[in-house]
């Protein structure tokens, strides 16, 4: 994949970075993952190889159950691939990796802690109380939840909980931000607001983002590159990379642009859907 930073990332890098986060490069090397053994074994992913440049937003797109999340979990160290490896800045991931932070499809907030308390979970161990408070306050503000910092998760809407989940991930000051369909369960309007928020956050804290999604529009709106996963038609079991797309144009992109509309139809066709 060609090294190409989109213009918006380039400007964001020029902004003063409050924490000096260094975005990190991720590389998948011939990664495969099978579950089970013997007759019950089935292959989910095979021969996945690609590189993500530091600071890029890459969308992993594919039908449900194609192993997108498995791929993401391998980067976080929550899952160990059967074959191949993931490296971050050249060193292999083994076990839970402190260079990554994950936002899951569900907010997964601790119900007995306030929004601020949940965001504080993301602050790396070893930070003192004052430093933690400062980071939490800044990030809760960044995702627009300052007013709700003291609320419990069940007292806020699903979209707000998901923003808190994003803030918690950012609190880790990650070199790689992993987003596992974080907006998938939200209503359409909230989803668009969240996508814009993610772009703002990426401007303010440029980091490498790996985004799992099954929403073609979301991928087109957010990503520098789209990796399309699925069965490659050879009849071999498991999903692999069927297509890699470079999304043109700086962000934020016009949702109605004709160039994107063409790309959208072609991606939908690759997913086996008639794009009209």
């Amino acid at each position: 994949m060609p090294a190409l930073l989109s213009p918006s990332v380039a400007t964001a890098s020029a902004l003063p970075d409050p924490q000096g986060t260094a975005a990190m490069a991720v590389s998948f090397q011939n990664l495969g993952r099978s579950f089970g053994t013997g007759h019950g074994a089935h292959t989910v992913l095979r021969e996945v190889s690609f590189d993500v440049q530091a600071g890029e937003i890459v969308a992993l797109l594919g039908p449900s159950g194609c192993g997108k999340s498995t791929l993401l979990r391998a980067v976080a160290g929550l899952d160990t691939p059967s074959t191949g490896a993931v490296t971050i800045n050249g060193t292999a991931v083994s076990g839970i990796d402190s260079r990554c932070a994950v936002a899951f499809q569900e907010p997964r907030l601790l119900p007995w802690k306030s929004i601020a308390g949940n965001v504080a979970i993301g602050v790396p161990a070893g930070a003192n109380a004052a430093r933690t408070r400062e980071v939490v306050e800044r990030l809760v503000g960044l995702v627009g939840l300052s007013e709700f910092a003291g609320h419990r998760p069940r007292e806020v809407s699903g979209g707000m909980a998901q923003r808190a989940s994003l803030a918690r991930a950012l609190a880790r000051n990650p070199g790689v931000l992993l987003l596992d369909e974080p907006f998938g369960a939200l209503d359409a309007l909230t989803r668009i607001t969240m996508q814009d928020l993610l772009l703002d956050v990426h401007q303010a804290e440029p980091t490498t983002v790996l985004l799992v999604t099954h929403d073609v529009d979301e991928a087109l709106q957010l990503a520098d590159h789209i990796i399309l996963l699925g069965p490659d038609g050879t009849g071999a079991p498991g999903a692999t990379i069927v297509r890699t797309v470079e999304v043109p144009g700086p962000r934020p992109r016009d949702r109605a642009s004709t160039a994107l509309a063409g790309l959208r139809s072609s991606l939908l066709a690759s997913l086996g859907v008639n794009g009209h």
Binding site: F104, L110, W112, P124, A125, E147, H151, V156, S157, M160
Partner: protein
């Protein structure tokens, strides 16, 4: 987003004072309703003794039981019986609960500990409580240690069982998320796993407290010179049915009162950690 947020805020602030007063009013009504049956029983007791349905040796009147109480208070004995029994229960319950919580956490979270310790603890649980008494007396003599140890055994198992089982069913997603943020071991336990099982911990504790009173009487019936269990055997030997009933009523009141205190703590804790 602003509209969204405002709505959530207003429901949150409106709901709490109303809910608070409703619970307060309801708890007084509940207390009153709960007292109806005891008052009826007392009334039936009084009427049956007044009508000589039973002889005073079989069933002394409520008045006689009250007099037995004031007499024991006058001789400065009743307070000592109650105090030593309560002390034994509280110490035994505390030690048993802490052991049950720690071992329950270990067995609930570690597969290795479960495989190694589970069968042995299960077999020990199957031993009837009274079977321990001769051995404990042999090892620790007739003193506080043997009695408190028996109560520890009684309090341990309910806490151990509920906590170890509940920890196996903590929301896997929450635990995975916490692990992804670098939490592990004791920090993971205290941040995620234990708070998640607070309701189970409290139901275990309440069972354990009831067991503690049960085992107290077992211990005191067999070997003691003080305490409510001693008052029971002593009254039986002397044919003092009034004192016997007094001991039973006191055990009922003490058991219910300590359980109610634990219930208040439970209410607070469940609100705090859910």
């Amino acid at each position: 987003m602003a509209v969204h947020s405002g709505a959530a805020a207003s429901t949150a602030t409106n709901a709490s004072p109303k809910a608070g007063s409703a619970i307060f009013a309801r708890s007084w009504t509940r207390l009153g309703l709960g007292l109806i049956l005891p008052v009826l029983i007392l009334l039936a007791w009084q009427l049956s003794t007044a009508a000589w349905v039973f002889s005073p040796v079989q069933l002394p009147s409520p008045r006689a039981v009250l007099d037995a109480g004031t007499e024991l208070i006058g001789r400065n004995e009743l307070f000592n019986h109650v105090a030593i029994s309560t002390q034994r229960v509280l110490i035994g319950f505390l030690i048993g609960a802490v052991l049950g919580l720690s071992l329950g956490a270990l067995v609930g979270l570690s597969k290795a500990a479960d495989v190694l310790l589970g069968p042995t603890i299960g077999a020990l649980r199957a031993v009837p409580s009274l079977a321990w008494v001769p051995l404990l007396i042999l090892w620790m003599k007739i003193g506080e240690d043997s009695k408190v140890t028996l109560i520890v055994i009684g309090a341990f198992f309910p806490v151990f069982t509920t906590v170890s089982l509940a920890l196996r069913h903590v929301d896997k997603n929450l635990v995975e998320a916490a692990r992804a943020f670098g939490l592990k071991g004791l920090k993971l336990l205290t941040t995620v796993q234990l708070p998640a099982v607070v309701p189970a911990i409290f139901s275990g504790l309440r069972l354990a407290l009831a067991q503690a009173w049960l085992f107290l009487v077992a211990a005191e019936l067999i070997a003691s010179s003080m305490g409510l269990g001693f008052l029971l055997t002593d009254s039986q030997n002397n044919g003092r049915t009034d004192r016997l009933l007094l001991a039973i009523v006191l055990l009922a009141i003490l058991g219910k009162a300590t359980d109610a205190l634990l219930g208040l703590a439970e209410k607070w804790a469940v609100r705090r950690w859910s």
